[in-house]
Amino acid sequence: MDQVVAEFPPESSPMKLDLHRSRRGFLILLTALWATASQPMAIVAQESKANKQAIAFFEKHIRPVLVQHCYECHSAGSKKIQGGLSLDTREGLLRGGESGPALVPGKPQQSLLIQALKYQSFEMPPKRQLPEAVIGDFVKWVQQGATDPRVASAVAKTEVPAPVEPPGIDVAAGKKFWSFQPITNPAPPKTNNADWPRTEIDRFVLAGLEQNKLAPKNDADARTLIRRLYFDLTGLPPSPEEVAEFSQAYARSPRTTLETLVDRLLASPQFGERWGRHWLDVARYGESNGNVRNATFPHAWRYRDYVIAAVNADKPYDRFLTEQIAGDLLPTESPEERNANLVATGFLAIGSKPNAQGNPNFQMDVVADQIETVTTAAMALTVACARCHDHKYDPIPTRDYYAIAGIFTSSETLYGAGGNNMGGAPPTDLHVLTIQGGQTPTPIVETGEEPTKGKKKGGNAKGRAVPQYPAGTPLAMGVRDRATPADCKINLKGEARQLGAEVPRGFIQVCTPGKPPAIDSEHSGRLQLAQWLTDPAHPLTARVMANRVWHHLFGQGLVRTPDNFGLHGERPTHPELLDYLATKFIADGWSVKKLIRSIVLSRVYQISSEFDADSFQADPENLYHWRHNRRRLDAESFRDSVLAVSGQLDYSPGTGSVLVKLGEVLIQDRLTPDKIHQSSNLRSIYLCILRNGEPEELTVFDLADPSLVVGTRNVTTVPAQGLFLMNSPFMVQQGERFAERLLAAQNPQGDLTDAGRLGLAYQLTMQREPTSAELQRAEAFLQSAQSNLATDAPEKRQLRAWSALCQSLYSTNEFRHVD
């Protein structure tokens, strides 16, 4: 036991003598404790003048506590070193145990030891939390560099193997995979049938059909075509008048009639409300945090509106991506442009975040969501897999992940004070938008990291002030660069406390064409990330977007895994066509509207969805497009169509969100999602997308999970849908509105019969006249229903019978599907 503490050099100042005395005090204690330990421990003090004081501090305030409260389980003297963590040597502390290094000198908040003492992650010592003053000593000690004179022999006993960095991947070999190959510009192939193709796209498709001894179905009729185009481009049904007009004109001059219609639909504001929603699916758009602490995001709607406006304006896709990743770093010429650019970065901020409390990986979890969203949405690569290890299938080493992670750790994510409700996530600023007149309001309280003790109104336990903005300040979620950008260290096994080598900020090597843009030390590198992504030579960006567009127009992509172009994704059914479209997309200035236009004007888009036994036998999955795919109306199209048919749809763009009034609150207890949702006749894209509480009329029809990047929605058939169609207040109410519309309808002669009303009902829902059998059946139903409702007053009886009929029409497969 006499070896426990080495002698210190003599000290001269009275203060130090004092320290020395008190050290003697704890020596007694320490010796007493040590009497129970099985092995002696050597502690050698190596003091230099510079750290004398620091060592004194350690000896007075730190070592005794470690000895008394920690060594029992965390030293060479322990029966078993718990968690692989030794606290009896400096090396042991720095190396840490199973959960990573116990401390980061200079950074108490990042030090596991401090978190454990504060009972924030682990609760150490387990018996009882140490007094605040003692914890304060530890914080101070770590803050000042965690001087620790102990060296040791004890380390050998720990059994935790030091985590090693992943070995890396042969990226050059990986580049041979199809999706990492440069995009080519193939010439459209020659086809045996030279008459059928109308466009170059048709030649690619027909060649595939011919190779597989298949033939395309006949062209769809005018009524099918206009319905298909309306739903695909606007998500709404055409009116009976539009159908009639189009059909007549189409019979005379199909080509120009079609072009006129397509151009009109592409130019309509409803186009952005339809295609903006497609992007919101991959942008995992949500207006609350979800996860375990479901705080509202009352400013998220601005990002939604930004997307709709960008799609309607046909903002070039490369620019669209750039704004979402680095809008805050772009030069702007007007306050409106500045606002839009800031709002665009909401793309990176609206993700669902885990609890921060007890979660040392919180920041890296936020970064992981950003990496996953950017790389999946834009590149259809599962880069996120490389967080913990080199990617198992795709040539993405962990180093590449942390090269990109450094870009995001150099950026600050602005999600607001919702953080206060998000289990310990520090509240953040928000982007303050410019109001009319060019002013940018300033927050009343600037955020700062002044530590305050305990919980304070307007702050959180971590002491960060919540910025207060003057009432009515327009705010937006988003990102901005940190003051001091820095490269990121590899998190071994994805653990933020187990740090490996630092990786210079950069990009995914396997899809880096030529020399990547250089990231300087002044910036996060987001702008360069956007430049790299939107480089026309990037092998994935244009392909992935062209494929997403194809997917939405045909119900399946040329690559049928639109979110995965890696090894585990599918291979393209028409690789040349995909490259042709990607090349054309870039050449057309990344115009999504032009891309859509060229596809819907192709003949293959316009063929019938009819069944054909032989073709089905040969190609049951319709890989080669021998027919058009019949598709179910998605959640938004169904709801919007119901409202359009009943005459209730409000075509005006939504303004804000129901959350604006509510502010940043936690959704729980009595504040359940159904209390937040308000009935609305606006288009579905404007409904409040609360995570874990999406509007029922959308979730029941497979709305995309707003916490995940979703390029392909599920299409399920569940009885809950049947129950919704039969009994939900929404359907019952809309059935009644539809019936009222029919009953109020009149013809010029003023003698509209029930048959005439039924004709109108069919025109509105199915864009066709009912057959005589259908008429008879419907009339019989009306009659029997009215006799079943004999106790009602005649008018009410009539309305209820018609409402029931209208509900049936809404529920039909014909209404709910597009041929």
Binding site: P126, R128, N291, V292, R293, N294, P354, N355, G358, T382, C385, C388, Y393, G423, R560, D563, H568, G569, E570, A613, P620, E621, R630, R632, I667, D669, T672, N692, G693, T699, V709, G711, T712, N714, V715, T716, T717, V718, P719, A720, G722, L723, M726, N727, S728, E774, R777, A778, F781, A785, L789, R800, S803, A804, L805, S808, L809, T812, N813, H817
Partner: protein, 457 residues
């Protein structure tokens, strides 16, 4: 024109498929699941063969939200004199032939001690309710992952075509809310159907939209007939298995309108049964209303009989930071008789062997600290118990240290628990994967996991 039969065959599904399409069918399964020509695989709720012969057919999970005090219920720690961990404040006694130590708070349940398999070595890594609650249900708190009930339904399909396969009664609205019974990336068909929510009156709650009073039954019937006539005419022009499945599911939805309320109507149960389950008797405890938990247990039995695969019931709240002694006793009183009645009922019906009962909360607690009159969170060691479903009864497996603070022997994590639940249902947690966004996901993520074979009968 093709006949119905031939068109269905031409759409490569045939009547075998139709017979199977009890509850529903899906057009495209999951995000990126391959579109298969095999329609049995395309029908997501068809009963599926397990990986190996199953011991249990279904699960009843009794979720004790708030973290029940293990040292005062099922992990006996005599008073130690330790200031921080003084030990149980309630008396314990050895019960049954097995001599399991069970707290005096469970006078009824202790009579059935030989059915219980205590997992005294449970441990979790986060002593915070929200994360731990989500981990208990999904294994993960950082990302949305499917609930264990969703995995079970995905793995085995449904046994009843008129009911959802995964039902959660009066679920928590906090601590993750719907994420605890959501299917995440699994197709939504596998999500739990919620009935009510914590604190709701279960005698009035039901599945959304299952009833509608806007029309008399006769009109609804003829309304459905009208709809189906239109649908059949439509499909006659378009052979399509997916359209056919919609027709079927509308019929099923219609049948559910009577099946669900019938099943939830407990008025036909004998007075003796109602008494045994405390229906109409017990008082409110925690956030749960009067006889709420008894009703839940009775409903769980009825759903189990009807073939529901995964049934979760919930009692809240067990977070006794204050008033520990009294509130804990009230909670135990609220659940003691109903659980006992359920075990006895299942046994009497010959269903206990094939029904795995799982009881527990997101973590445990320190013992009562007199100065606070409350107890604190304790995730490093706590207790779950299992019963029925092919587990050993009368067994205490695993140990915490002398204070109950930390699991020291035969530890079981939530991942282990999930793997064990799946195993009893005949599912290998390593084989039960789902491809999403290019990755094969399984319930335990990448965490080291084991089936707790030592507790299996």
């Amino acid at each position: 024109m093709l006949s119905r039969r031939s068109l269905l065959q031409s759409a490569s599904c045939g009547f075998g498929y139709l017979a199977l399409s009890g509850l529903c069918a899906s057009q495209a399964r999951g995000g990126e699941a391959k579109v298969s020509n095999n329609n049995a695989a395309n029908y997501p709720l068809a009963p599926k063969a397990p990986h190996f012969p199953a011991k249990a057919k279904r699960v009843i999970f009794m979720c004790m939200r708030g973290a029940p005090a293990h040292v005062d219920t099922f992990d006996y720690k005599p008073q130690t004199g330790d200031k921080e961990h003084p030990g149980s404040v309630f008396k314990f006694q050895q019960s049954g032939q097995s001599g399991l130590w069970i707290s005096e708070l469970f006078p009824e349940l202790s009579k059935q001690a030989d059915k219980l398999c205590l997992l005294n070595g449970m441990n979790a890594n986060v002593p915070n309710h929200p994360q731990a609650f989500l981990q208990m249900h999904t294994g993960e708190f950082r990302f949305p992952r499917p609930s264990v009930g969703s995995w079970v339904l995905y793995g085995l399909g449904s046994q009843n075509e008129n009911l959802p396969g995964f039902i959660t009664i009066n679920p928590e609205t906090r601590v993750g809310g719907a994420q605890n019974y959501a299917s995440a990336f699994l197709p939504p068909i596998y999500q739990g159907s919620a009935i009510g929510y914590v604190g709701a009156d279960i005698s009035k709650a039901t599945i959304n939209n299952v009833t509608g009073e806007h029309l008399p039954h006769g009109v609804k019937r003829s309304q459905l007939e009208l709809l189906q006539a239109m649908n059949r005419e439509h499909i006659a022009r378009r052979p399509d298995a997916n359209l056919e499945s919609v027709i079927e599911s509308m019929e099923l939805g219609f049948r559910m309108q009577s099946a669900v309320p019938d099943l939830m109507d407990i008025s036909g149960e004998s007075q003796a049964t109602l008494d045994a389950y405390n229906v109409g008797k017990s008082k409110a405890s925690g956030r749960s209303l009067n006889d709420d938990f008894g009703r839940q247990c009775l409903l769980a039995r009825r759903f189990a009989e009807a073939g529901v695969r995964f049934i979760e019931i919930c009692h809240s709240n067990w977070d006794q930071h204050g008033n520990h002694r009294k509130d804990l006793a009230a909670n135990c009183e609220a659940i003691d008789r109903p659980i006992s009645a359920l075990l006895a009922d299942l046994e009497q019906r010959g269903m206990l062997d094939e029904t795995l009962i799982v009881w527990g909360g997101e973590f445990g607690r320190t013992s009562l600290l007199t100065k606070d009159n409350g107890s604190n969170h304790n995730s490093a060691g706590f207790t779950f118990w299992l019963a029925g479903g092919g587990v050993k009864g009368g067994l205490a497996y695993g140990k915490t240290n002398e204070t109950g603070r930390i699991a020291v022997e035969n530890k079981v994590s939530f991942h282990d628990l999930h793997a064990t639940i799946l195993h009893q249902l005949g599912l290998d947690y390593e084989q039960l994967t789902y491809r999403f966004a290019g990755r094969d996901f399984r319930i335990n993520g990448t965490e080291p996991t084991r089936v707790v074979k030592e507790v299996l009968a």
